[in-house]
């Protein structure tokens, strides 16, 4: 695995995570995790389910604090921010949740207008323009009056994407954007993430366990397992990597260096110790 990225050039990085350690209670999630996200690029963070990829997004968004280490976004140390600073920073971030998380008591239009109305004093006609522009991008301008419960899973995901980019943020985070979608909707989301990133000049972080889709849009990929980075590089570099851990994940092999078994006592002794 080659380190193709120039780590010295920190101003090119929008997000820098270094030396992060974190545990949920007694279960360790991260042990000395370091990675960085370059401006203007789509960075995919991939790894097996349950390795704490979403937790990483919560650090970047300031919803969780790591036990140790630093999380910098646009040269600001996120865990050290006070409430006001955190909310200022979040106005420049968008996040798309795995379960879409649309507000169920308002229609599609109002959902996308919500962050604009809450965070700006823009006049309503301008807000309407902004919302329709974003809806047109995701192809749902005609669905503006529908309620979230009336949307299919794929449509809800697209509305959530439109809402995440409503304020033209510098950074968009996608938490498992491809999970549970039919192939067509999945293709649409894959295309949209790339298009939105390039058309609006954003920086995107995609957390996913879908290797094929992740690799198809990412400029740079980090592979996480056992709480740390086990491989990084462009998708081509990872696909040709000789590292057994990287090959296991990229090839989808059930067992290997990334264990198939949840940690447990030895099987035979477990069987005979009685209930």
């Amino acid at each position: 695995m080659s380190d193709s990225k120039d780590k010295q050039n920190s101003s090119a990085d929008l997000v820098r995570v270094s030396g992060v350690r974190f545990a949920f209670g007694t279960r360790p999630v991260y042990d000395d995790l370091s990675l960085s996200v370059e401006r203007g690029k789509v960075t995919a963070i991939m790894g097996p389910s349950g390795c704490g990829k979403s937790t990483l997004l919560n650090f970047v968004g300031g919803r969780l604090k790591p036990d140790a280490g630093s999380v910098m976004v646009d040269s600001v140390e996120v865990p050290g921010l006070g409430r006001r600073g955190l909310y200022q920073l979040r106005k420049r971030m968008g996040m798309m949740f795995q379960r879409s998380a649309l507000l169920t008591d308002m229609n599609v239009f109002d959902n996308i207008a919500f962050p604009i109305r809450q965070n700006t004093d823009l006049p309503e006609p301008l807000i309407r323009h902004m919302v329709l522009f974003k809806l047109e991008m995701v192809g749902l301008r005609g669905a503006r009056d529908l309620m979230p419960a009336e949307l299919s899973g794929g449509m809800a995901r697209r509305v959530a994407l439109a809402r995440a980019i409503a304020l033209d943020p510098m950074l968009v985070m996608y938490d498992e954007p491809f999970t549970g979608l039919d192939p067509i909707s999945m293709g649409v989301i894959v295309k949209l993430i790339r298009e939105v990133n390039d058309a609006l000049g954003m920086t995107s972080v995609v957390v996913t366990h879908d290797v094929k889709e992740g690799c198809s849009i990412a400029d740079y990929v980090y592979l996480l397992a056992h709480g740390t980075v086990i491989g990084q590089g462009t998708p081509e570099e990872l696909n040709t990597s000789q590292s057994p851990e990287v090959r296991q994940f990229m090839g989808g092999l059930p067992d290997g260096p990334v264990g198939y078994h949840y940690p447990a006592d030895e099987f035979v002794s477990d069987l005979f110790t009685g209930a």
């Binding site: 968004g61 919803r63 909310y87 200022q88 979040r90 106005k91 971030m93 968008g94 996040m95 949740f97 795995q98 379960r99 998380a101 649309l102 507000l103 169920t104 919500f114 962050p115 809450q118 965070n119 809402r163």
Partner: protein
């Protein structure tokens, strides 16, 4: 020794819940002051919490008043004291049954709905999404609901009492033949504005505060799964009812001598 450990864990968990609910109340109160500037949010919630609870309050008030009329009359008539029926009905309602029964019904109808709604918003990441959109969910979701509950409770208790007094009149005067003038004048002479009515209003304010606090806290603190929300909803109704009845005893012993 296992039960000692379990007892310890249970105690710790409950102490932590108390702490969390106290901190939560402080941030809710702070946000409530701010949310007064977005008054339309509160009005929406007064509709959801208060207006939609009206029917059950009015119907219950009517029946409770009618039962009071019947029971009061049968007891009083043995002593030839049926002229005091209006007073008995009015005092029972303003001092006790109005605030207490309204609070219990309110916990069952509005409190459970608040907990379930907030808990489901949490379980579907809506609260997290708001945070990430730089919108404080305590200010946008919790505070308007808390204020609405606090405002609605005394109004609902007042309506419950009023309808109850009318229900007592319906039975006592209309059915059992107590003189209408006697019914109302006994009430006017015997019910004191401060001693009875004001104390009743204070009770309903306290109950409204407690029930709504419990309801929004349980929703906000719910384990974000379907089971967690269901347990939180149950806890709201059970805890709110117990708190109302216990506080009613304390308040009554302080207020009336």
């Amino acid at each position: 020794m296992d039960w000692v450990r379990q007892l310890g864990r249970w105690a710790l968990e409950n102490m932590q819940r108390w702490g969390r609910s106290g901190l939560f109340l402080l941030s809710t109160l702070a946000a409530s002051v701010l949310v007064l500037r977005r008054f339309e949010l509160v009005v929406q919630q007064v509709f959801a919490v208060g207006v939609l609870t009206l029917i059950i309050i009015l119907v219950s008030g009517l029946f409770v008043g009618m039962v009071l009329g019947l029971q009061g009359y049968y007891t009083l008539v043995d002593f030839g004291a049926e002229s005091s029926l209006g007073l008995v009905v009015a005092l029972s309602l303003t001092r006790e049954l109005g605030p207490v029964l309204t609070a219990l019904l309110f916990a069952g109808r509005a409190g459970s709905a608040l907990t379930a709604e907030i808990g489901l918003m949490k379980a579907t990441d809506q609260l997290a999404a708001m945070e990430m959109m730089a919108v404080d969910p305590v200010r946008r979701v919790i505070a308007p609901r808390f204020l609405a509950g606090f405002v609605s409770m005394p109004l609902l208790a007042a309506l419950f009492t009023a309808v109850g007094v009318w229900g007592g009149n319906l039975v006592g005067v209309g059915l059992l033949g107590v003189d209408s003038g006697v019914y109302w004048s006994a009430m006017r002479d015997g019910v004191d504005v401060y001693e009875d009515v004001l104390n009743g209003v204070i009770k309903s304010l306290v109950f409204g505060f407690m029930v709504t606090w419990i309801a929004v806290f349980e929703g906000y603190d719910a384990v974000p799964t379907s089971e967690g929300v269901s347990r939180a909803t149950t806890r709201t109704v059970v805890n709110a009812s117990l708190v109302v009845l216990a506080l009613d005893f304390i308040l009554t012993s302080l207020m009336f001598e």
